[in-house]
Symmetry: C2
Subunit: 546 residues, 2 copies
């Protein structure tokens, strides 16, 4: 067997976003161990993990993390709890972020954590030699992973953009990409997120420039919210705070944590005395204050949402203040973000957000950047990943236009087993794969049936019919209990009559098998409710024999 | 009493979008009778009507409809069923659309329907004289309503944009707006939807130009989806079909209905023989076909969604086809639309949508258009409406910049009673107002409690504890029924033990009052579940005394 097997896993429609398995003769390197966030249909679900059952049957030599975003590192504690992993490799900031996460889960010593750097010589891990290439993204210290394998050279780009003027000067290493292209790349797994979008993604610096234009003349407090992991965004906001003599309070647990880690590891540069505790803002004039906060997605319990609802213990928005929402709503979060904006506007703040001001740029490469990377790498084969199908299709089109033969472009799904051999790439098989729900403290015990019941319950509520049946076939009038459904009223009385009628009829005909009684009650009452109301509540007949 | 009372009603956060009451001495003209569409938190709700209870206590001389969109006409059948309304006034197309709607509700003869035209002389309705001004929008025959009242001249703009080159040549009548400005406008209620957006909204013609660039060279079938009411959008698509020798099938109930009405009333111009039945497409080559369809919002039962799931009886998407989604997702519908796009792309179609191609323009005025209208009308007072608070705030800012005194700009909410008198505008009081849910066949019987229960049920399911208690204080082991919650397993067994323990303890201590037993079971089991799982299912203890 000469082929390397590549298996994208996890994700809700985004291929290989959360986890990708690279396997040769039973030895495995996993790139990323992330999670997805539940969509509206995942009622009550907290987190969506990749189904990583496949890893139980192989030898996981390493998990390599490209960067510290939750969709790339968030499932690591769940994986380490279940799977023996020899080592976890990541760059400095990523490692700093996951160390804190693993400590929270009591997994601090569960594996070896090894820091890597793009300047390192190749690292041997089982049958693979790994190298790293610096790639700009909306979090520092992001890297592409280069896997030199027995079947050829693979480049896994990770999420990236081609920012030639990043805030930390750590630009995408186009020189190394070109060098890899000269060595000969057999397969590229590339980020497709913005493959549908024409042109170039703007540099992160553009947001700093917007901050410099917006902030200086304002007389009120300035609030800036972004993803807590967007260290350079926060750095740029703080830079303008320093230039305009504002003190900065960092509000929200994940923002405090990320800023601390980034400062301790040298990824942020903030002089002493600039950052103050929220309580210390009280003595300052509004134009001496900046509040950097979580809540850019309108998350219900986040600091900015609490501030918008005037429910934060330490911080208040007041008329004349300015709130800069330096992020784009993740699809599905639009209404929550709009709600925050409306609340803040109602209090009298001016709210600047990405729809109306240049206060956000994407972290992902658009069409022309993807063309550039394909041009530098000149891969023999292309596997678009990191995106919904429409984005992968757009990426594939860019590949074809750049001269990658259509037969060498592989459109994988999560669970596809893609084999790379000296003969090229092909989908060899599919494995059982999917997602695992985290709901409260439970991982994986929530079935599709339970989720379907929740949906039904959410739409039409529940109706419980309580019937008692005596040994002598007599019966009391059934009781009905309704929730999420009008709890009283003539319709409910009619249902009760119907239940009583069905029960009497069954008992007269000597039917006393409980299952049968339940079934008849369920069907008769269900039909009547539907006829009268066009609703279909979950109907649960409880028959008690006495 | 000299004041005219203006009361915006209905809506989910959008002020006066669905309905506005104009009242003078108990006589009322209502502008629009629309509805809102439920948001995710309105679990299972079908439609959201304005609470129009206020209309029961006044004399409704007329309902005036500005245009035929659902959020402006959709609640009309529900209003007419409850409220005596002397007449309904609307322009030709709007009247055509609501006639068909009223017939469906069996309300064809419930009121007088009267067609109005912007060229008509003023119409006296009770204490008001009404005139109409043609305003461009994303549906033809949209009008602003001018109310000459005892307290002054009011202009209610309706939704609008300043399209100087609309497809039907019926441009926003800026001449009449200027004339009104010269007469002296005392109050303007203006559309705020795009007040946050800089610049101008592009002309509808831009979309026609995009169709002309996209369609001619394509070899596959062309699918075009938009709002069924966007008559000019559909006209432009059909125009290009004619130019490129494609036959057109109209698919989806509301699309067929709207095209029929628009053609019959002369709002569309389609030669005989162009439109064919979907079945007739079969004999044609792909490049001879265009399918105009519903489903631009990814609605689950719509034609395009069924086509995307390969579940439409007559129409199929195939590789090489092109799908043009000529609409923008209404906030909250993004994920559904993305899902459609992914499905269609997976089948092999190229999907062009507003994020990546100029196939949609807004129907609402941006900043510079709003400035222009304020400049033409020069209103003494301004009441921003039709938008969320952030948009109203942006509109108010434009008003202040244009010289309307801050004290003459009134920020109303739904239920605010705004009084216009010779002394100016002010908020006089607030009336009880809100929304009424339509759920299945029921209007208004769904309480907030039931909705809260649905939310709880949707997140954590339901757990029923069935306990039987004998007169002699003995008891069987309680049964548990779980739905939307793991239905079996050790946790459930532990709950059952706990329920049995609580029950025994109560019976030993001679507690036999059912309410008390229920309460104890509820609290003990609820606490244990939360401790073990961090879930909070709805717990319903059923205690049967035998």
């Amino acid at each position: 067997m000469d082929a390397v097997r590549i298996i994208p896993l996890g994700g809700l429609g985004e291929v290989g976003k959360n986890m990708t398995v690279y396997e040769y003769r039973g030895e495995v390197v996993v790139v990323d161990a992330g999670l997805a966030f539940p969509r509206d249909e995942h009622l009550g679900v907290d987190l969506v993990l990749p189904d990583f059952d496949y890893l139980r049957s192989v030898d996981v030599r390493a998990i390599v993390l490209t960067h510290g975003h939750e969709d790339h590192v968030g499932s690591l504690p769940y994986v380490l709890r279940e799977i023996k992993v020899a080592q976890v490799l990541a760059t400095g900031l990523t490692l700093g972020l996951i160390k804190s996460k693993l400590d929270e889960h009591g997994l601090g010593n569960s594996t070896e954590l090894r820091e890597v750097d793009p300047a390192d010589p190749p690292i041997e891990v089982g049958p693979f030699k790994l190298e790293f290439v610096r790639m700009a993204h909306s979090i520092p210290d992001n890297v592409a992973v280069v896997l030199d394998t027995p079947a050829g050279l693979i480049v896994h780009t990770s999420d990236y953009k081609l920012d030639h003027t990043p805030v930390d000067g750590m630009r995408t290493d186009v020189g190394k990409l070109a060098e890899l292209g000269n060595r000969g790349v057999d397969l590229c797994l590339g980020d497709s997120t913005n493959a549908e979008r024409p042109g170039f993604t703007q540099s992160e610096r553009v947001v700093g420039e917007a901050f410099r234009q917006i902030i200086p003349l304002r007389k009120g407090k300035i609030f800036v919210t972004s993803f807590a992991s967007n260290v350079h965004r926060v750095q740029q906001a703080i830079d303008v705070a320093i230039q305009t003599n504002r003190k900065v309070a960092i509000v929200g647990r994940s923002m405090r944590k990320n800023v601390n880690i980034a400062r301790n590891l040298g990824y942020m540069d903030v002089p002493e005395g600039v950052i103050v505790r929220p309580q210390e803002l009280e003595g300052l004039r509004p134009d001496q204050q900046m509040i950097v906060t979580t809540g850019s997605q309108g998350e219900p319990m986040s600091a900015l949402t609490r501030i918008a609802y005037d429910d934060h213990p330490a911080v208040k928005v007041e008329p004349g203040d300015t709130v800069i929402i330096s992020a784009k709503p993740v699809p599905g979060n639009e209404l929550r973000v709009h709600d925050s904006i409306n609340r803040l506007a109602k209090i009298g703040a001016e709210v600047l957000h990405q729809e109306i001001a240049p206060v956000h740029v994407s972290g992902h490469a658009c069409e022309e950047e993807i063309r550039t990377v394909i041009g530098l790498l000149r891969p023999k084969a292309l596997m678009p990943v990191h995106g919904e199908f429409r984005m992968l299709a757009a990426h594939a089109k860019l590949g074809r236009e750049a001269g990658v033969p259509a037969s060498a472009i592989v459109m994988a799904e999560n669970g596809s087993v893609i084999e790379l051999s000296r003969k090229g790439v092909r989908e060899a098989e599919r494995i059982e794969s999917g997602v695992t729900f985290v709901d409260g403290l439970s991982v994986g015990d929530l079935s599709d049936v339970a989720l379907r019941d929740r949906r039904r319950l959410s739409e039409d509520g529940v109706l419980i019919i309580v019937a008692t049946v005596n040994g002598d076939a007599s019966t009391a009038r059934p009781e009905l209990i309704a929730r999420g459904f009008p709890e009283t009223g003539p319709v409910l009385e009619e249902m009760r009559d119907e239940a009583a009628r069905v029960l009497q009829e069954l008992l007269r005909s000597d039917t006393s098998e409980i299952k049968l009684i339940q079934e008849h009650l369920h069907d008769a009452v269900g039909q009547l409710i539907y006829d009268r109301t066009r609703r279909r509540p979950l109907i649960l007949p409880v028959v008690v024999e006495v």
